[in-house]
């Protein structure tokens, strides 16, 4: 007599990077039922927005997600600006678009690394995370932060792009494009990757639509849907780019869609740099926003982001509601898990790219007298000294020469 086995994965589990509880019911090695428990990370952001003015709420909204922070703030702002009847300067729209696409670049590279890690392909993880640093360095150069950029403000953006920045972005784009062509080639021709991911986490076109999947998950099921085309915002109506789809309906398709989207993002960034107009970067905004309701949509790296804002005529919003893309994908994920093997669970969960919290790294902006700055050499010296005191000498281990990529 067979007995079904119930395995709880999470809320605290070594292979999960965020608290969520997946209760998996197994028959042998196959998953027959998957129940998702979320809400461990509910921070009451919507309530806290109701007691702060529009500027303060912007900074809270930016912290909904560590990786797609620009998506959330732009989505929120396009709603507020519409209610106020303010059109942002064209140059500001270009800068917002560039940041949006840089964010998509680093988010997709991050995901590719996580996916590689989940299937035991850690070389890919190391490669893509190394390349992601190039994008993060550009973001840090442009706005001072690697994540939570703080570039957006009501009526425009806070910092302008300088000519030397544009050269740096172009160089970064060329490098990422070269690297990404290698990943595209890898995704489309590597036999091991195809064997591991084909047929895993199946989600048919009908099911994807039925369960309301969004973003690369939906597009990998063969549905040509992208908010940048469906409900264009900023300057997307004029930008030529392709909406990438793939109809294998499995995790393999989600890899292909994401790597090809990286190339599209590079195309969009180049278009923006080539056609960037001169002019102001910020328009004047009223402090009090006229009463009204608005829904704004934005294509975040993980899919469609929807914000609802209700204004009551004061400087404090009446209601702000956020639907992050991962929230829309939970349901299709529960469906994908059914019928697959337990060993495929980690990659299927990772395949929707659930939002992991990304921590900020401190960077030294001004090395004023008295501030202490530790570099790699000093850390290594400290490490050698530390182990020598314990009776172990590691100083003879040679380090590889520093690689400049």
């Amino acid at each position: 007599m067979s007995k079904n086995l119930v395995i709880p994965i999470g809320p605290q589990h070594p292979s999960l990077k965020e608290p969520a509880c997946f209760t998996i019911t197994l028959e042998g090695e196959k998953v027959i039922e998957a129940d998702i428990g979320i809400g461990y990370n509910h921070r009451g952001i919507e309530k806290s927005c109701e007691s702060r003015n529009y500027y303060q709420a912007l900074y809270i909204i930016e912290r909904v997600c560590g990786i797609c922070s620009h998506s959330h703030s732009t989505c929120y702002l396009s709603g507020v600006e519409k209610l106020a009847g303010v059109e942002i300067p064209r140059r500001a729209a270009f800068i917002r678009t560039i940041f949006g696409e840089l964010e998509r670049l680093h988010s997709h590279l991050l995901w590719l690394g996580v996916a590689g890690h989940e299937i035991g392909f850690d070389t890919l993880f190391m490669y893509t995370w190394r390349d992601r640093e190039l994008v993060l360095d550009i973001l840090a150069m442009l706005c001072g932060n690697r994540v939570n950029y703080g570039i957006n403000t009501l009526g425009g953006v806070r910092r302008d792009l300088e000519p030397q920045h544009i050269d740096d972005i172009r160089r970064m784009c060329a490098k990422i494009e070269e690297r990404n062509n290698y990943y595209v080639n890898l995704a489309l021709s590597d036999a091991t990757l195809a064997a591991r991911l084909s047929g895993v986490g199946m989600l048919s076109k009908e099911d994807a639509l039925k369960y309301g999947a969004v973003g690369p998950v939906l597009r990998a099921s063969g549905v040509k849907s992208d908010t940048r085309r469906n409900d264009p915002y900023l300057i997307y109506p004029e930008i030529p780019f392709d909406v990438i789809t793939y109809d294998s309906c499995d995790v393999f398709g989600r890899v292909v869609v994401r790597v090809l989207e990286i190339n599209e993002s590079i195309k969009i960034i180049r278009y923006c740099l080539d056609n960037m107009p001169d002019g102001d970067i910020i328009a004047k905004m009223p402090r009090k926003i006229p009463a009204g309701e608005v829904v704004s949509r934005y294509e975040a790296p993980r899919g469609e982001d929807v914000h609802f804002i209700k204004a009551n005529g004061t400087d404090i919003p009446e209601r702000v509601k956020v639907r992050a893309p991962s929230e829309a994908n939970w349901h299709s994920m529960a469906h994908m898990l059914k019928g697959d093997y337990l060993a495929d669970t980690p990659i299927i969960i990772a395949a929707i790219d659930p939002c992991y919290s990304c921590t900020d790294r401190a960077i030294t902006l001004n090395n004023a007298a008295g501030s202490k700055r530790t570099d790699w050499e000093a850390i290594r010296k400290h490490g050698i000294e530390f182990y020598r005191n314990k009776g172990v000498d590691v100083s003879r281990i040679l380090l590889p020469e520093k690689i400049n990529y």
């Binding site: 428990g37 009451g44 608005v294 209601r319 639907r323 829309a328």
Partner: protein
């Protein structure tokens, strides 16, 4: 692509009590005013099945003072958005119909309405609550406008109703005092103006 005028007319044809003023157009979005649960579910069925607005985005709960409202954001294949609304009878009678039979992905959204607004959404399958913790006290609905974070003790998970009532009383008193002061100032200004006019007339 349907134009909103035809769309509006086809809805009004089926639901004659929804007059033209129930609708508001805003670019590619059409907003419909709130209706009560019984009528809402037939309207929802019509919009989803016959008008083919079969893409569900999210629900938004609203505390409208005397009652609660729920907005349902739907879109069709042509990317037009139709935003329907359901309202509860009152603040105490919070019954609302579920759209789970139409969209399974509405599950978490509707559970959120139950937890955060205390709306009695009927028709959801059994399961754990979302998003509040299991030990969250009853009758505490954080997104209601009369629930203030400062009166909730995060350690003991208790809401200080007395302090909240006292603060509300003080707020009303302050408001009344300000209103009275404002009215007094207006009356004084009027009296002064009348006096000046009188003096001007006397001088003439």
């Amino acid at each position: 692509m349907l134009d909103f005028h035809t769309l509006k007319n086809s809805i009004i044809e089926r639901f004659p009590n929804l007059s033209d003023e129930y609708f508001r157009e805003d670019g590619t979005r059409l907003w419909v005013k709130a209706v009560l649960p019984q009528e809402f579910i037939t309207l929802f069925d019509f919009v989803v099945k016959e008008l083919r607005f079969d893409n569900f985005h999210m629900t938004v709960g609203l505390d409208s003072g005397d009652y609660f409202e729920i907005i349902y954001l739907l879109s069709n294949a042509e990317n037009q958005m139709l935003n329907l609304r359901q309202r509860t009878v009152s603040r105490d009678d919070t019954f609302a119909a579920s759209v789970y039979p139409y969209f399974e992905n509405a599950l978490f959204h509707e559970r959120e309405l139950i937890d955060l607004f205390g709306i009695d959404v009927q028709g959801l399958p059994a399961g754990h609550r979302y998003p509040l913790p299991d030990k969250w006290p009853d009758d505490n609905y954080p997104l209601r406008k009369d629930w203030k974070t400062e009166f909730f003790d995060k350690k003991t998970l208790t809401y200080d109703h007395e302090a909240a009532a006292e603060a509300e009383r003080l707020r009303l008193e302050e408001e009344a005092r300000k209103k009275a002061a404002r009215e007094a100032a207006i009356a004084a200004a009027k009296a002064k103006k009348a006096q000046q006019e009188k003096e001007a007339q006397a001088n003439e």
